[in-house]
Subunit: 294 residues, 2 copies
Amino acid sequence: MELRHLTYLLSVVEEGSFTRAAEKLYVSQPALSQQIKQLEDELGTPVLDRAGRRVRLNAAGEIFVMHARRVFQELDEAKIALQELQELQRGSLRVGIVQTVNAYLIPPVVARFTEAYPLIQLEIEELAAGEIEQALREGLVQLGVSFIPPTEEGLEYEELFNEELVLVIGEKHAMANCVEIEVSKLNGFPLVLLPKSYCTRRLWEECSQKAGIQARVVVEMNTIGAILSTIRQTKAGTILPRLALQQPYSQGLIGVQLCNPTPRRTVGLLWRRNAYRCRASQVFSQFLNEVILP
Amino acid sequence: MELRHLTYLLSVVEEGSFTRAAEKLYVSQPALSQQIKQLEDELGTPVLDRAGRRVRLNAAGEIFVMHARRVFQELDEAKIALQELQELQRGSLRVGIVQTVNAYLIPPVVARFTEAYPLIQLEIEELAAGEIEQALREGLVQLGVSFIPPTEEGLEYEELFNEELVLVIGEKHAMANCVEIEVSKLNGFPLVLLPKSYCTRRLWEECSQKAGIQARVVVEMNTIGAILSTIRQTKAGTILPRLALQQPYSQGLIGVQLCNPTPRRTVGLLWRRNAYRCRASQVFSQFLNEVILP
DNA sequence: TGCAAGCTATAACTTATAATTATAATAATA
DNA sequence: TATTATTATAATTATAAGTTATAGCTTGCA
């Protein structure tokens, strides 16, 4: 049985005639007769009474047609639902984002998105870069905002922006007036840093190694807010992307540019290779780009 | 879109692989790929994420598959309903029956039928012969029990039995001892008869005309019970099929055979030509035959 | 009652399309 | 990096839907 059989039957019922139904369906009358016969053979019972001038449903036909109509109703509903999904009237989007970006770039994007598409279930997960890549591969998130290039295989990405890491210290710190400072000068400097599982931390490690120094890590903390609060109350500093200073917690703190080398990182969008990028994720990406490049 | 597309999609989803789904469907893998592609083209969106080793539904796919499953559920229900109809577990049967037959032959048939198939909605309508033929043509009843051959066109029939009309009189009537009586002897005989719209009455009119006599119709009554009660209390007689005397009302009455000519009538089953004779009507016919020919 | 018109079914044939085979392209695994 | 597993594509074959011609019934009208 195929939908064609149901379509044809409904048309015959509606027209009360094979000939007229065939005209409406733009097929020949014998084609229609054959298909109806096939249907009746498969159902094991006639569904139409061919009473000369008028063709009408018999008892079995009445029952079958009722269900056939529901079949098409169901398919119509499916098409409407897909349409709505296309128009972002439903569906969900899960995005994995690294802490530093999440803290100061994502709120305005989320605000715009939820206002524009209130019916989309948006889920933002703050994850470490490695967790994001893992979540993408497992399909736990559809989109990642993390550092590029990714370390794992099977992911595609697109650059969002490139930023430098700066030394963050209290504005009354002895070094607060420096325009820039060489990394090599930070040997033994007390730092409050993110754990080594964080990309930002690893970038710093790489950078300090290049400069041939060893900073003194007084404490590791895993949230930026906590680190900044600590810096504000001690002589220690921290290494963070400059944009972290846009946070509300950053009052009373300043960033000093590092050089020789200047640690930099590139943030981008990530997704699983070959995964269908749903409209919701496309729109989210677009909003993010608009916030970055005003 | 055809049901084939839905079947294939559901199979791919279930197996999580084109290759395995194709094996289960007994088609080649490329055939499957092509059909899924057709479906996606028609829906205007991909429904599957081909992520290398594993194939899975995307958001649009989840929605569509839900509806596709309901489509097959609907068709399953349709098949079950038709099955039940075939097995007389549901459905209805409307039968039009002439008074004389209804009065003494139908009750046992109805009893057997309703006991055997309690879920069938059986409707017995007592109608005049002409009304039965009309109701058959209009599809108001599926089966008729009436006199054959029918007067209207477009009806088919099958003989049930042939019976003679007799003169019914009280057992203490002067003529009660006659074995038979010639119609010509009934000139001026007082009779209580059915109205002229009834076939039995018309048969008698034809018969008396042939014999060249004119009976005296003292009163017309349209129910057999009333006629018999009247006969029991008067010197009048009536003309009815012999089987009418099997009724409970017939105590104290006897039937005298008529001859020259002997009025006879044939009772049969009637249905609309080319109409599908549903199982319920076939079973009803069978029961009726069994009651007549024990 | 017979004839003409209208409608559906059947048969033979044609066309469209689904399925197959062969093979390329791609991703996962060793 | 080679190999295996998996899906996509291209060309061909097979199937089945469609078409044309026509027969067989009904029905309506002369």
